[in-house]
């Protein structure tokens, strides 16, 4: 007997899963989202945040480009707050790039992408940081920045308001079946280890790069190729608009201005497992070198951290590898393909097209449940009720200018000074049971995403865990240590200049003053989930300390 039942279980708390949850809820279907980590902690949260105009795919992957065009326009309507209309440039830097131009212009025309060639003088006037090597500039006004965290939280909050439920840090360990029909999932709480059996009529597998692992629990094969991408975060936006190289999509050819930072991306290397994402120095170096070809100041800026995400490329059986593979997506009806009823997978795709993916998979599942309500996710904005979501989270507007802070009284100290997070921005999330640790707070408030990488906000947030959540001191300290540990794993790839000095301050503050390493060493716990392995904060401090 299941512990409780719901209509549809959506596995995976990325943009697709959150989108599907919202879509189900809007069609009036009872739904629950199960995520083994936190929302937006996998592929979505580790994307570079480029809202694709489609320009990047228009030559090699026209179908994906057309989807980007359509979905980009829809997202601008429904997820206004998550999007910053930066526009974008496609820049030719070398002769080969110039040879690519006619195909690019043709592709844009075919896909219906607005693309305008502008003079170099005009481009330099708008973007003074353009490098001297730039030969040609195309202006694509529909490129933008999409905040992946805000997008997922927005979808989830919208679904919750319609009755959907969310369980984070809950892993699906098995399924219950009756003959060929899936009748429920068995989950395990990642923290308490508690097993729960959830009965349902259908399951949507929206676990992206992890789809194969989930399908395997039902002895069904889903071939997803995990392809790693490495990104480097700089502490300020070097340009107003997104910067792309006008060439065959390759490594390090995008610079995205996202809120208060710039993100250099990315690489494409096939990895054996979606959670093994080592970041190599040559990849970081490549990001800086390639970025510097398009923008001045890339190598002089303060690199804050490097991170790696994994693309969930769906193997359509072609011989393609990495970038050659289509960014298109597919809905796999396992009843039809494998004879397993009540189980549907959605694979491939990208964040920009998440809504369409959710619509397609929800459509298949809803039809099976006999629900004929049409999809309305393209018409109803995420924050449809009195902008509740906007009230939940004040965020820096364009150029991260602290606009919401205008006219505000300046009495209260901030929680995170780097990202201007106020106590009232953080507090509502402390009441959300989906939030377990401080990394989860980061994804919802941006606290800890600035130059100091949680050196300061970590202890302030830990304090709020005690005062607002009534956790005991030891638990809050552990939460702080975990937060610093995951931050550290990104920071250690950019140890030079400012960030190296920053690390000295951070370690001095937390390890010397707060004696945090003693606690970390005593516990001897494995590193937090979902990060590549390597030397941790405490080990590094121990190694460099005189004995």
């Amino acid at each position: 007997m299941p512990d409780f039942t719901t209509g549809v279980v959506v596995i995976g708390g990325g943009s697709t899963g959150a989108g599907a949850l919202r879509d189900l809820a809007m069609r009036g279907i009872d739904a629950m989202l199960i995520e083994k980590g936190d929302l937006a902690s996998g592929t979505t949260g580790r994307s570079h945040g480029l809202l694709h105009s489609g320009g990047r795919y228009c030559v090699n992957d026209l179908a994906a480009a057309i989807e980007c065009v359509e979905e980009g326009r829809i997202l601008r309507r429904i997820a206004r707050t998550a999007i910053e209309d930066t526009g974008g440039y496609f820049l030719s830097v070398t002769e080969e790039d110039e040879a690519w131009e006619p195909r690019f212009v043709e592709g844009c025309a075919k896909a219906g992408i607005t693309c305008e060639r502008i003079s170099l003088d005009e481009a330099r006037r708008r973007e003074p940081a353009l490098s001297k090597q730039v030969r040609t500039a195309f202006w694509l006004p529909e490129d933008g920045h999409l905040d992946p965290f805000y997008l997922v939280m927005g979808n989830v909050e919208s679904a919750r308001r319609r009755g959907a439920q969310v369980r984070t840090y809950t892993e699906v360990t098995g399924f219950t079946r009756e003959g060929d029909r899936v009748t429920g999932v068995i989950t395990r709480d990642a923290v308490t280890g508690e097993q729960t059996s959830i009965g349902c009529q259908a399951v949507i597998n929206a676990t992206g790069a992890w789809s194969g692992f989930v399908a395997k629990l039902l002895d069904v094969e889903v071939k997803v190729v995990p392809v790693k991408g490495v990104m480097v975060v700089l502490s300020h936006r070097l340009a107003h608009a997104a910067i792309n190289r006008c060439h065959k999509p390759g490594d390090g050819d995008i610079v995205v201005p996202g809120l208060s930072v710039a993100i250099l991306g990315t690489t494409a290397r096939r990895v054996p497992h979606p959670e093994v994402l080592p970041i190599e120095w040559d990849e970081v170096r490549l990001m800086l070198e390639e970025g510097a070809m398009m923008l001045d100041g890339v190598t002089a800026a303060r690199a804050m951290r490097a991170y790696a995400g994994v693309r969930p490329l769906y193997d359509l059986g072609a011989e393609a590898e990495g970038r050659e593979m289509s960014r298109n997506f597919a809905v796999i009806d396992h009843e039809e393909r494998d004879g397993v009823a009540g189980f549907t997978s959605i694979v491939g795709g990208k964040v920009t097209t998440y809504r369409l993916m959710a619509e397609r998979v929800t459509h298949v599942v809803a039809r099976k449940l006999g629900v004929t309500t049409p999809c309305s996710t393209a018409d109803v904005p995420l924050n449809d009720r009195d902008d509740e979501l906007d009230q939940l989270r004040h965020r820096p507007a364009q150029m991260g200018a602290p606009k919401p802070h205008l006219g505000e009284d300046y009495l209260k100290p901030l929680v995170c000074e780097c990202e201007l997070v106020r106590p009232e921005d953080a507090d509502p999330w402390l009441e959300d049971p989906a939030v377990r640790g401080l990394e989860d707070m980061r994804r919802r408030t941006r606290a800890g995403m600035g130059p100091c990488q949680a050196a300061v906000c970590s202890y302030r947030l830990a304090g709020r865990l005690v005062t607002a959540r009534h956790q005991d001191g030891a638990m809050a300290t552990r939460a702080m240590a975990d937060f610093l540990e995951t931050r550290w794993r990104g920071v250690r790839h950019v140890f030079w200049g400012s960030q190296l000095r920053q690390a000295q301050v951070t370690t001095g503050l937390h390890l010397e003053l707060f004696n945090l390493d003693r606690q970390l060493m005593l516990e001897n716990r494995p590193p937090p989930v979902g990060e590549d392995h390597g030397v941790g904060l405490a080990e590094a401090a121990q190694a460099t300390r005189p004995r």
């Binding site: 208060s260 070198e289 800026a301 150029m399 200018a401 100091c452 030079w496 503050l509």
Partner: protein, 416 residues
């Protein structure tokens, strides 16, 4: 990481934009006298490098809290990463004021020289008015100058005219030929309010074989800088740099006001970015700094009259920005019979025109309260401070007599 690979990266402390260098260590907030005294101030770290990351020349400036920065510069002195915290705050203040307009009060306080010239011309009347409770009440209501704040006394005879007169008299005398010549940047305070300090500076320098000349000069610009008017300060600065650049080589510039000296030395070439300011700054010295250099060269006249006096020394915040230590204390310890004690209680709170303003007066007195208590407890003859507004504040808050350190030196040289 292989060391050869580092050639790619130029993010180093020397070359990078200073806002990038902030490591959030919070050292600046811990020394900030305003942050220490009020809960409503987020401190220099927030107003400086952190907000700077979000400031955009095309967007309206967030001004909340900016006006609470008193401009003492202690944050900059303290910053281990050499971040120009004050410059960011000043530029944002200036931009905010440009967008929103300046109040009459801030405009007036920025135009100190104009105001002082007027006060000096109408000295008896101005001084009467400044001490008249009815006038002060009106000033508080209309302009926003706190009624309890004693305003400086104006003198009808300016230092400029005194010096001109003296030179005409001296022309008839035969003065011994001097090896050294200095140009005295006396500043508005000496010119309009405390001519006697200028007289003492001239006397001490001449006694030590230094020829003093007084070039024509404009306000240094610091009152404009701290009243959100960098544009005006720059106009003044350009004029001063132009005039002072024409001084013959080998002529050093002396300032007896801490803040004027700091403007010449540092802010003209940094905050105000005035072309040609660097060579002017590099030959500018604080009066006590210069005299100590004379001493180190073995040229300071040490034939002091012994004094029997116990004095306290308060180091002004802007003096700390000079990065020269406390030369006044070293000098005064050369004089027999001077018992000097340093009161290390931080900022006095007035910060130039900050503590004059009606909404800042209480805060200013609160910041200075530690200093006042210490001065009262010490029960000394007088409190020495290099900065004129510090002296005003100490006299007002602690009820003690306060003077510039050179006054003790002048007394020891028999100047009456």
């Amino acid at each position: 990481m292989i060391s050869d690979d580092l050639d790619l990266i130029t993010d180093t402390v020397e070359e990078q934009a200073p806002v990038e260098a902030c490591t959030k260590c919070t050292a600046c907030n811990t020394v900030c006298p305003v942050a220490r005294s009020t809960e409503i101030f987020r401190g220099p770290k927030y107003l400086g490098p952190e907000s700077e990351r979000y400031r955009d020349q095309h967007e309206a400036t967030v001004t909340a809290g900016l006006d609470l920065c008193s401009g003492c510069k202690l944050c900059e002195v303290t910053c281990p990463s050499q971040v120009s915290i004050q410059e960011y705050i000043r530029r944002a203040q200036n931009k905010g004021a440009r967008e929103k307009g300046r109040t009459l009060r801030d405009w007036m306080l920025g135009h100190t020289r104009l105001l002082s010239a007027f006060g000096s011309m109408t000295a008896p009347l101005a001084n009467f008015g400044n001490r008249n409770p009815v006038v002060r009440l009106a000033m508080e209501k209309l302009v926003g100058i706190h009624r309890k704040r004693p305003l400086p006394r104006y003198q009808w005879l300016t230092f400029e005219r005194w010096f001109k007169r003296r030179r005409q008299q001296a022309a008839t005398l035969t003065l011994p030929r001097k090896e050294r010549t200095v140009a005295y940047f006396y500043g508005c305070w000496v010119n309009y309010n405390e001519r006697r300090l200028g007289e003492m500076v001239v006397h001490i320098l001449e006694r030590n074989g230094v020829n003093v000349i007084v070039p024509k000069q404009q306000c240094c610009g610091i009152p404009a800088v701290v009243n959100s008017n960098i544009d005006l300060a720059r106009t003044y600065g350009v004029e001063n740099v132009r005039r002072l650049s024409t001084l013959p080589a080998g002529v050093d510039i002396i300032a007896s006001s801490t803040s004027c000296g700091l403007m010449l030395k540092h802010d003209y070439s940094h905050l105000l970015d005035i072309p040609g300011a660097e060579p002017v700054g590099s030959r500018t010295y604080d009066i006590c700094e210069y005299l100590w250099m004379l001493h180190e060269a073995g040229d300071l006249d040490l034939t002091f009259e012994p004094l029997d006096t116990r004095v306290l020394y308060h180091a002004p915040c802007h003096l700390k920005s000079h990065g020269m230590g406390y030369p006044a204390t070293r000098l005064l310890r050369l004089i027999p019979g001077v018992h000097l004690e340093e009161v290390d209680e931080g900022c006095c709170g007035i910060s130039g025109t900050f503590g004059v303003k009606v909404e800042k007066y209480d805060l200013s007195m609160k910041i200075g309260s530690r200093l006042f208590e210490a001065v009262k407890a010490a029960g000394s003859d007088s409190v020495l401070a290099d900065c004129e507004t510090c002296r005003m504040q100490v006299e007002h808050g602690a009820g003690a007599r306060s003077s510039h350190p050179v006054e003790i030196l002048a007394r020891a040289y028999g100047y009456r």
